[in-house]
């Protein structure tokens, strides 16, 4: 049967589990899609402001912020501080050993511009390389749905960030952890965590690490048990304000360039901060046969935040061979060097 591409987003029938309705031409996600209305978004934003006012000003920080130095997180930090200038924010940048110098410079610059504190979280490069090598070599270590959201490498990286940011929030008695996820990446604007859920998530990640061959006995990646045991009343909530704001890549870039953020020097259409991303995409395509950004991009297209043509272009763009080769060398992994690495649609 020939491949069908959803008429509304960018998903196609060759992606495992995706069905396109022949009558409507839509994938089952688009058929059941109910976006947040403007009214609902406004209500969420009002609720977030109320939460900031109710719980802010009590700990060392109000917000622990995940700052990659890329465009989305830089913009969200800028707008967050502009809309809520009273917030005391600690921006945490995870240097995963592949964070570009430009991203580190941009992150520090954004903190200076917004008056936020900056903290760089990192580990020994050898440990990070070994971890990502194992993630790349793993197969089916993450649930099916996680593979739709991101590559195995990105899933490991983002889960480390989540674990360590929640840990930081507990230590700093900060009531909120903020991520710059778009509507395509996370549909839930407010996530109230509970101790049980944090404990459960930690244990799940511990098992996933074990599955790829990592015993994190020193809790380098995992939320430290000792911190969790002393959590007391300081259970943070996770907020995703970017998914409530009007989003367009052009608008985000225009705003950032005006305030002095510098465009990345890396040739990757899906990341403006991580030099491992192209390899992670290549690795995912080789293992599972579809682009790890397909669902993210489909979400943006579905919600009208990205034109469909642009979405299709993004997931069909040739991956950067030099970036893939450089990452493979660092991870001591082999790649297929003789062919062009292009996503097939």
């Amino acid at each position: 049967m020939s491949k069908l591409v959803c008429k509304k987003c960018v998903l196609d029938s060759e992606i495992p589990g995706i069905q396109i309705n022949k009558d409507t031409g839509l994938c089952h996600f688009c058929e059941t899609y109910t976006p947040l209305s403007s009214k609902e978004k406004k209500e969420y934003l009002t609720r977030i402001e109320e939460l900031f006012k109710q719980y802010g000003g009590k700990g060392n920080y109000d917000v622990i912020y995940a700052l990659s130095g890329g465009k989305d997180s830089s913009y969200t930090l800028y707008k967050l501080k502009k809309d809520y200038p009273f917030l005391k924010i600690l921006a945490v940048q995870f240097d995963n050993g592949f964070t570009s110098e430009n991203a580190i410079m941009n992150a520090k610059k954004m903190c200076k511009i917004t008056g936020c504190d900056y903290f760089q979280l990192t580990m020994e490069k050898e440990i990070l390389y070994d971890t990502f090598q194992k993630a790349a070599e793993s197969y089916d270590a993450f649930p099916k749905f996680a593979k739709y959201r991101a590559s195995d490498i990105c899933n490991v990286c983002i889960t480390i960030i989540k674990q360590k940011l929640i840990e930081q929030a507990i230590v700093q008695k900060a009531p909120f952890v903020v991520f710059a996820f778009t509507a395509g990446q996370s549909p839930n604007p407010i996530i109230n965590l509970s101790v049980n859920f944090i404990q459960w998530s930690r244990n799940l990640f511990e098992k996933q690490l074990q599955k790829i061959g990592i015993e994190d006995k020193d809790e380098i990646f995992l939320l430290k048990k000792e911190v969790l045991e002393n959590i007391g009343e300081n259970v943070p909530s996770i907020l995703h304000p970017l998914c409530l704001w009007d989003y367009s890549e052009d608008k985000v870039l225009e705003t950032l360039l005006e305030i002095g953020w510098e465009p990345p020097g890396i040739n990757d259409s899906n990341s403006t901060n991580c030099t491992l991303n192209s390899f992670a995409c290549y690795n995912h395509l080789e293992k599972y046969g579809f682009h790890p950004y397909a669902f993210d991009v489909a979400g943006l297209v579905r919600s009208g935040e990205m034109p469909r043509e642009e979405g299709l272009e993004k997931i069909n763009q040739e991956l950067s061979q030099p970036l893939i080769e450089e990452a493979a060398r660092k991870l001591k992994l082999k790649i297929k060097s003789s062919q062009k690495i292009v996503v097939k649609v």
Binding site: T32, S186, N188, I191, V195, W200, K207
Partner: protein, 81 residues
């Protein structure tokens, strides 16, 4: 009880957590069988709260209540009373 189990399986299949042709026993672990992770759990919780008009108290967010079809069904039955 069976209706709740069918609803949950339909949700998991419709949202690509599991394949249409795969089956799930009542006490199979959703996390250990690679069906769901922590983000998936959050989405499943949202679905359950909305579908059955219930609020899940914090002390019920445990693997016993959320990691199998039977656990989820028992929890919903208890809360929906």
């Amino acid at each position: 009880m069976e209706q709740i189990k069918n609803d949950i399986v339909d949700y998991l299949k419709a949202n690509s957590f599991m394949d249409n042709n795969s089956s799930l026993k009542d006490n199979d672990s959703l996390t250990q069988n690679g069906i769901i992770d922590s983000i998936g759990l959050l989405e499943l919780m949202d679905y359950i709260c909305e579908k059955y008009s219930i609020e899940i108290p914090e002390d019920m967010l445990t693997p016993e209540n959320f990691d199998s079809l039977q656990g989820i069904t028992n929890m919903i039955t208890k809360l929906a009373k």
